[in-house]
Symmetry: C2
Subunit: 237 residues, 2 copies
DNA sequence: TTCATATCGCTACTTGAATACCGATAACGA
DNA sequence: TCGTTATCGGTATTCAAGTAGCGATATGAA
């Protein structure tokens, strides 16, 4: 009797167990980063939690929150669990602690300073954006290359000439910059900012910034969501 | 002699072959949607391809493009392959055809009309955004609830009272709307727009819009990239 | 007091995208 | 003319994230 065993494909063996989402994930945030999609959903959760607390809720259940936001309840629960606050059956998560934990995870628990570079129409609009204070972010200075703008005050922030930027950023120890300059000027500005100690840049220009390791750039590109939208409309139309 | 065969985990069998990235993917776009990340990268590619064409390049190779944008060459090649234009060894993809194909995939090959709702500071800034014309998008009308703004002209677009919105959107057969109204007003505006025939909404408010099936909403939430940024800074700091 | 149940927290599975790898081929230089 | 090689186009693998299912448990009602 002969026995033939043919492996068409090797069975998949998990050497490492799949990532488990539990409170311990927060014990050492250095080695347990939050999933990126989770981080992006946190601000949305924060708003909803705030509204529910204003309405007098002391506990937030994942199912109620999910329904309110149109998300999957399980996904929501995992996100909330990552914050490290234990929930209670039939009640949910304690609202105050949950909000505090999420804010802590995002670094929004203590005040952060930022500068804005480029006080054109978009930059001016951002100076008036109310949402920043919810995130404990204050724009301490604005800069613009145009000497005509320099000296004016937009939404309570004085606009200074670009030449002062490096010195002021270094002196105020600002680590975050919002870049709303024309694409052609973006790379040079970024280099000056990094040189002066900036560690994170919110880049509204369409330039692909190249920065040294350790500096984080987040691009806000209007064309991207527009592409998703028009692609979907073109397909379904 | 006894033989024990123990299956600790069943081998994974691919009933369907893994999605292969080839020219045929574009044959029937209805059933072969592009991966979302690819769609989001396309606008970035388009800009770079345009610049390279301006510099006289007739062919675009994935490796050169990837280097320019700081992306993985393989990933870039897959994205370009999805556009359906065959490339040539040692040359790359024909620049003009490639650009046309990507524009077609995004629905940017023919002119599209849009309306802007909410002519506040952000709305005004968007009316001046030069990038829209690269995407063949023209904002044909702007609306605002504030009667003081209605009647004025911002960046060449006349601002009209909100009451005229439904009628005008229906008459002009506009399918795309840019929503820059305060959060409290967003849901009501969205419903009016959808009722009037709008199929896609670029939502800059922080409201979670609920819309009927078939209508696509893309949220542009400034807090999200900011969350990613400050989380990363908080971790590495 | 007891029971029904909403919700949590965990494990397992599926899906989608990124990455690795490699043979085929056309352009280029010797 | 002929080898070298950059680049394409395809398959397989790995990884991250979303989804499913289910036992445990505290709450609130009977």
């Amino acid at each position: 009797m002969k026995i033939f065993i043919i492996f068409l494909s090797l069975p998949k063996v998990y050497i490492q167990p799949p990532l488990w989402y539990n409170a311990r994930a927060m014990e050492n945030p250095r080695e347990n980063p939050l999933p990126l999609p989770t981080i992006r959903r946190y601000p949305i959760f924060l708003r909803a939690i705030g509204e529910m607390m204003d309405a007098g809720e002391a506990f937030i259940s994942s199912s109620v929150l999910a329904e309110r936001l149109g998300l999957d309840p399980v996904l929501t629960r995992k996100d909330l669990a990552m914050a490290g606050v234990p929930g209670r059956p039939r009640r949910g998560y304690p609202a105050g602690e949950l909000r505090a934990a999420i804010n802590r995870a995002l670094g929004w628990d203590s005040a952060t300073d930022a500068v804005l570079v480029g006080a054109g129409s978009l930059g001016s609009a951002l100076l008036g954006y109310a949402g920043f204070k919810e995130q404990n972010l204050s724009i301490v200075a604005a800069f613009d290359a145009n000497p005509r703008l320099a000296g004016s005050t937009v939404h309570g922030v004085k606009v200074r000439p670009l030449a002062e930027m490096a010195r002021l950023v270094r002196r105020l120890k600002v680590h975050l910059a919002i870049l709303t300059v024309p694409t052609a000027a973006a790379q040079a500005c970024a280099e000056t900012l990094v040189e002066a100690g900036v560690r994170g840049i919110l880049n509204f220009s369409s330039a692909q910034l190249s920065v040294p390791e350790g500096v984080i750039v987040q691009n806000v590109d209007l064309a991207q969501p527009l592409a998703v939208l028009s692609h979907a409309i073109a397909r379904h139309g």
